[in-house]
């Protein structure tokens, strides 16, 4: 990598994960989806940083923590532009964009108050599509919600 700002930010981390290019408005939702609110590891969150194509962006750096594809792909619901960097021994060993899973379970609340999923102790389930924008359709009541408007459980 070149000596740009991103590289410097990444370089501070010995082992862990850096999630970059998160839309500023989605940053704290992403923290919640990744379950980092109660982590004991070194966690750095930056938001409203200048970004060419996003305007402003957020970034999450978490030490000694690695995610399965399944986990970090969930943030594609609210941050389809996010890029995940896996850092080992100060090196970026893997860099990939999140990709939206076809089915999102247990992380988004259905916007329909008359949906069974809001009235029964059960996991929510949505079918996701991303053309042109991320849209979720409730598996139960069929209501749709835009990914950027999704309420995270």
């Amino acid at each position: 990598m070149s000596t740009d700002k991103k590289h410097l930010a990444v370089a501070a981390l010995r082992d862990g994960t850096v999630i970059d290019h998160i839309p500023a408005a989605a940053l704290f939702k992403a923290v919640r989806i990744l379950g980092l609110e109660n982590t004991s590891k070194s966690l750095t969150i930056g938001n409203n940083l200048a970004s060419g194509h996003l305007g402003t962006k957020g970034i999450i750096k978490i030490a000694d923590t690695f995610f399965t594809d399944d986990v970090f792909n969930r943030i594609a619901v609210i941050a389809p532009t996010a890029v995940v960097n896996t850092i080992r021994n100060y090196e970026v060993v893997e860099k990939r964009r999140v990709s939206l899973p076809a089915v999102i379970e247990g992380i988004v609340k259905c916007p329909n108050p008359k949906c069974i999923s809001n009235n029964e102790p059960m996991r929510t389930r949505f079918e996701a599509s991303d053309s042109p924008e991320v849209t979720l359709r409730c598996h139960y009541c069929r209501r749709t919600v835009a990914g950027k408007d999704a309420e995270i459980i």
């Binding site: 008359k114 949906c115 069974i116 009235n119 029964e120 059960m122 139960y140 009541c141 069929r142 209501r143």
Partner: protein, 309 residues
């Protein structure tokens, strides 16, 4: 999880629709086939609906099956706070099939995920009511001799009327032409217009209930315009009479036109239409029993006896 359940018309394609309609035709010809002898059907009406419950229970009784259940959640353990999951799992120990109606959307889908016995959705809030759709299709096929290439006018509340939404979904396989007639505030929702466009289906939207639309139609599907859908009471008073069918409006319509309505009606079909041979809504309700016999026996994987005729 089970696959023989019938939760939504969206789940089935043209071959399954036609297999169910053929089955319904068999039951019209053989109304008292004892195909459910020894079977127990649970009718769980978490939300009361006398009309739908009687139709399902008639279907089961005519097939020689037996029924357990409740007609109102107030008399069931749900009123003591039991979850839907627990109620379904309990009943599944006793019954071979569950027919359920619930005020919450998606309740029937969820029920199929917590039991192995088939679940038939008898209405889940504003979402789906697939046995109604099947009886509508049966009525259309029976009166027109086909489902293909028909002009179907839908009148009244196209925004909240789940029966018209499901009928649009089901007819997408049959190259229909739709005329959507409603006040601007009760228009057909965009997702169903999009469904028409995606399937190359011709449609027009209009707010006047004129003779030219009636005369062009093979099916006139009337729906209830409910007062509670309007924020403005004056607007309701203005609109409710604009979408009322009177007998003189049928004067120049096609001889084969039939008027359908899911019932109960309020004032959207004048009483003088009832004696017109084009009025089909009471027979339509009777077809509901055949459609439900078809759905139940199909869900239980019961083969029909060979027709001797």
């Amino acid at each position: 999880m089970n696959s023989r359940s019938f939760v939504s018309i969206e789940d089935i394609g043209r071959p399954q629709i036609e297999a169910l309609l053929d089955r319904a035709a068999f039951f019209e010809a053989h109304p008292d086939s004892r195909l459910l002898e020894g079977k127990l059907v649970a009718t769980l009406f978490f939300e009361p609906s006398t009309r739908t419950r009687l139709s399902f229970e008639t279907a089961v009784n005519r097939l020689g099956g037996r029924i357990i259940g409740f007609s109102d959640a107030a008399t069931s353990s749900t009123s003591k706070g039991e979850t839907l999951k627990d109620t379904i799992k309990m009943v599944a120990n006793y019954a071979d099939l569950i027919v359920m109606r619930h005020h919450l959307e998606g309740a029937a889908r969820y029920a199929t995920e917590v039991t192995d016995i088939p679940v038939v959705n008898a209405g889940d809030g504003a979402n789906q009511h697939p046995s109604q759709t099947l009886l509508d299709l049966y009525s259309i096929r029976k009166t027109q001799g086909r489902l293909d290439n028909l002009t179907v006018a839908m009148v009244g509340d196209l925004k909240y009327g789940r029966t018209v939404h499901s009928l649009v979904q089901a007819l997408r396989f049959y190259n229909p032409r739709f005329i959507f007639i409603s006040s601007p505030e009760l228009r057909m929702p965009e997702q169903y217009l999009q469904l028409c466009r995606d399937n190359g289906i011709e449609y027009e939207e209009r707010s006047d209930f004129g003779a030219d639309a009636i005369n062009a139609s093979d099916i006139l599907y009337m729906t209830r315009v409910q007062r509670e859908r309007f924020t403005d009471a004056m607007e309701y008073e203005r609109v409710k009479n604009l979408y009322t069918l009177r007998n003189d409006m049928l004067a120049e319509s096609k001889p084969t036109l039939r008027v359908l309505h899911p019932l109960p009606r309020i004032n959207e079909i004048a009483l003088d239409v009832d004696d017109n041979p084009k009025a089909y809504y009471f027979e339509q309700a009777r077809n509901g029993v055949y459609a439900r016999q078809a759905i139940i026996t199909s869900a239980l994987n019961i083969e029909l006896p060979h027709d001797e005729h």
